[in-house]
Chain length 243, copies 2
């Protein structure tokens, strides 16, 4: 079980099937960018893809209802576009606590980005660095029991991030007060982890209760129960969530 | 023809096929997140998806070779993860000049983000706002003839961006000097375009020639000719690229 699937119990058969489809989709997305097959073959594959879509579309959930595999208490989100096991968009990046490496409070992940994530030729899209670092910083906040929504995100790009190359993402809470947390992090080559290519700093704020109630008024879990995200209390904090 | 496919001549049959597959893939990605079909059906669809992948993977280009549909002079990139017609990851967001609306130098786009782009329940992932705004700011710089790579990106999140809701993205160059350009932009509800949900500010820098030569040394176009991105000269500037 990866750190992304901790939390409340779930149907293991469904989780495995969602992860299997997610992996297959990520492979298809990658191949769709690298391929040079002729137009007629692209058209035929598009027809196959539309058939697959129709099979999935016969039964759907409303956007306000979480997947039955999601757990709002531990922030397990299987379709998260950065780390979701079922997401076709996710590189994916699986964050784990770096405490085993002697770095309490740091989250870390290895990743490699294919050409589907390209910005300048041969390099990761600058906005993709922002996307994965927002997730990294947020994951560090959640691990420290400090969930909040992104209020400000700053990124400094020191050097471009090459495609198809192992990189390492790190993030740790730099400070917190009341409903706010400041988190910093980096992207570096796995072969040169001490030289940041990208530096990120995020301010995360837990919305006031009345605002949270308004934002998430219609959100329910799969059983129809209201499910608003919040900071874990001591009673609900997942094992390992607090550094 | 959209603003994203202007530039050098291309094979229209291939462009149409790539766009067709891109559209089909975006539909499949969306359905894969909304679906509630049982595990056995997810597994069957995953098998179909893997077959599609294999058909595309029989012939591929190296990551250093641009797609034959790409044009490095006008920055036409068909697999760009924000606006690429062939990208499964792209929402997609198609930027156009707002000069027809009387706003010279502003680029604008309408978009609607489905649950594949979700962060907090019901809302756009904060990092996704960063991704699309990096592209919006970069597009405004390119339109002004000021291409550069992202050096710094700042995002202020005023309110969350709801899913499945029309939003409008805007960006314009705020200032430039030498190799640097500062660009600002916003995301707002289409129904309330004057109230920004997200404000973005980017610093874009054209790398010095020797650095550009090093970064893009191995990049070629589909014919094998070296193709390094740069700012368009007056001779190569695409029609409409300069505000």
């Amino acid at each position: 079980m990866t750190p992304d699937v901790e939390g409340a119990p779930y149907d293991p058969e469904l989780m495995a099937a969602v992860a299997d489809l997610g992996e297959a989709l990520r492979g298809l997305v990658d191949a769709s960018v690298r391929t040079t097959v002729p137009p007629s073959e692209l058209r035929d594959v598009a027809a196959v893809v539309r058939t697959a879509r129709e099979r999935l579309a016969v039964r759907t959930r409303p956007a306000t209802r979480l997947s039955e595999l999601d757990d709002p208490v531990t922030f397990r989100r299987v379709y998260n576009p950065v780390n979701g096991v079922g997401s076709a968009l996710a590189p994916p990046v699986h964050f784990r606590s770096a405490s085993d490496d002697g770095e309490d409070g740091t989250v870390v992940a290895e990743a490699s980005f294919g050409p589907a994530y390209e910005g300048p030729p041969g390099f990761l899209h600058g906005g993709m660095s922002g996307l994965v670092m927002d997730q990294a910083l947020g994951a560090a906040a959640i691990r420290a029991g400090l969930w909040g929504m992104t209020a400000r995100l700053e990124l400094d790009y020191r050097r471009p991030v090459p495609l198809d190359t192992p990189v390492v993402l790190r993030a740790a809470v730099a400070g917190s007060a009341g409903r706010k947390a400041v988190v910093t992090g980096t992207i570096a080559l796995a072969s040169a982890p001490g030289t940041p290519l990208v530096e990120a700093r995020g301010l995360f704020v837990l919305p006031r209760e009345e605002l949270r109630a308004a934002y998430f008024a219609e959100i329910t879990d799969a059983s129809g129960r209201h499910a608003s995200p919040s900071r874990p209390t001591d009673a609900t904090a997942p094992s390992g969530a607090r550094a």
